[in-house]
Symmetry: C2
Subunit: 341 residues, 2 copies
DNA sequence: CTGTTAGCGCATTCAT
DNA sequence: ATGAATGCGCTAACAG
């Protein structure tokens, strides 16, 4: 069994050609004679020659690898997002390096450094829910590594980003609840740092104001997306003198925890208290009492778009040396999906 | 703004040393004078020198990258498994290349070729549910890429693998149902190709025989893990003259589909019909009527163990040139977790 | 203690 | 039409 890896040198030696001739022959270079080309290609096939990618990576200063940094694959949103990225990467003959921050900023920094060291050609990032300083992200620009953010994007103007616009859907969600007669609508929102959370609150207040419903700030609670924090939020809301009859939760995981809490407190879901949420997780289909509606945020489409932008950037970079001066800020419309009328 | 990437050459030129001296100084080589070492290290820091990893990868014939190939990250089992691998990889200063086969053999082959081309130092693989030919897997050995399989492992003796032993837990699961008075216990199993499915059926028959319960092969159905196939299986089972009062399903996803089907057919879950399953998905905690019990298969531990074995192999490979002659076949005991008494 | 040289695999420029 | 030489960045064997 021949186990040695075949190199150009090996082929050259056997055929008594120079390495450059062999290299050219394999690339069907016009200046190489047909006979020679055939000889070389045949032997290459016979010896099962395959170009050493690491050598190419090294020489071309390109690794044909993109890095993906996201909070956690356990969240179905992100595990679906990976698919969009993988699909686009495969089309472009790229591989995908993965790193989960688990919403830990230090971990996020470490991963990004590791990816930079690996010389990934580009990065797709969804930042941790606690990331407020962007220095480690901006550093990437200095290394000339193009970055596209998606879903959880930083509040920076000079970056490429794809995220979900939930404002319309949020408006619809709240109007939907109001139409069903709810007047006291609670909000279990995420950390105030997250742009989407600010948007959510703003839209909520907008709609209520427009519908001339009194806004009670006591009904709006920020949590950190953990089950414990959701339970605490629920406790606060349910203990109010006039507790909400409906609650808007930042995502389906929080909704699940909230619903569970409500159930344990003998509340009838969708009767005593209703929920509307975000993410539209497939899993909610299996619940007997799912949230009434959930805002679909299209993780696959978001991440796919992000990947496409990244590859466009890589393409451009090949042709020009200019820094790009315009930045993609793509918004993908979220859609309210009604589960129960 | 200094944007040029610093190399040894650059430092050497500025300090008028040779490249090798600079290299040694940076590695604190004992033969380099303290003064020189300090000079070099200071300038290196100042210029923000970082060794070019791709050059190192190339030279050392190592990429500090491992590949992970698995069916789908959407399954929480695998998205948890990734954590075990990532954790171990990080400890060893490795990065993780990811590829999902989506249970498509061709995709699986493509991914493996891509990973081989990327010269990953090792691979961790969970094969697709349809993979019966192992040629593309065995090929890796010829490239000297160590492989450790986990969870969905091939039936090959000369490979390293980590999987879950579900026999004891399956026995307990069935005894649990029998103790609750069930005599007609259905099985919705997975594809017959999967070793774990064969084991499941075998244990099922064993237990029934031992308990002197008549075995009705009509109660055992293989499916392909899709919702449609699960519904078909349920339809068949429920249409039997004597339908089962309890069903053992291959995993919680199948259980969810089965439960949903039963609910739509007005059956009371855990009353008219009970379920016991595998995977112990966190999500089932949120169901009002979850499976009575589920077998925990410890994805994190399985994958972590697989990763540890892989790094041991890599370690060994550094020290000796021998092929390993013994193979790790690790079994991690599954545990029956009771959700409802 | 430090410098010179070679080489990893490949593409490419410059000769011939 | 082909070969020789160069260089990518780094390490290490060899030479003083």
């Amino acid at each position: 069994m021949e186990n040695k890896i075949t190199t150009l040198k090996e082929i050259a030696k056997r055929l008594n050609f120079s390495i450059s001739t062999v290299s050219r022959a394999l690339h069907n270079h016009p200046s190489i004679g047909l006979r020679t080309t055939m000889q070389v290609q045949n032997l290459a096939k016979e010896l099962n020659y395959e170009p050493n990618q690491t050598a190419l990576f090294f020489k071309q200063q390109k690794t044909h690898t993109i890095g993906v940094v996201l909070p956690s694959l356990k969240e179905e949103f992100f595990s679906q997002a990976i698919n969009g990225i993988e699909d686009v990467a495969q089309l472009n003959n790229y591989s995908v390096l993965i790193g989960q921050s688990h919403d830990d900023i230090e971990k996020e920094k470490q991963i990004i450094v590791a990816m930079k060291n690996h010389h990934v050609d580009g990065l797709i990032i969804s930042i941790s829910k606690h990331t407020k300083e962007y220095e480690h992200l901006l550093a990437l620009e200095r290394y000339n590594i193009p970055v596209v953010f998606f879903d959880r994007v930083p509040e920076l103007p000079k970056v490429h980003k794809v995220s979900s616009n939930i404002n319309t859907a949020t408006r619809q969600a709240i109007e939907f609840l109001i139409k069903k007669g709810h007047r006291r609508i609670g909000v279990i929102n995420g950390p105030d740092e997250m742009q989407s959370c600010k948007d959510r609150t703003k839209t909520y207040m907008d709609v209520l104001q427009k519908k001339r419903i009194k806004i009670d700030m006591g009904l709006i609670i920020s949590n950190d997306l953990t089950p414990g924090s959701t339970r605490a939020a629920m406790q606060t809301l349910l203990k109010l003198k006039y507790p909400p009859t409906a609650i808007l939760t930042i995502n389906d995981y929080v909704a699940l925890d909230a619903i569970q809490y409500a159930r344990k407190n003998k509340l009838k879901i969708n009767k005593d208290i209703s929920f509307v949420s975000y993410a539209n997780l497939p899993i909610t289909n299996y619940l007997e009492h799912p949230p009434l509606a959930s805002v679909e945020q299209y993780p696959y489409e978001q991440s796919k778009k992000a990947a496409q932008i990244l590859f466009e950037l890589l393409e451009k970079r090949n042709n020009t040396n200019d820094k790009e001066s315009t930045y993609n800020h793509i918004l993908i419309e979220g859609d309210l999906v009604i589960h129960k009328k």
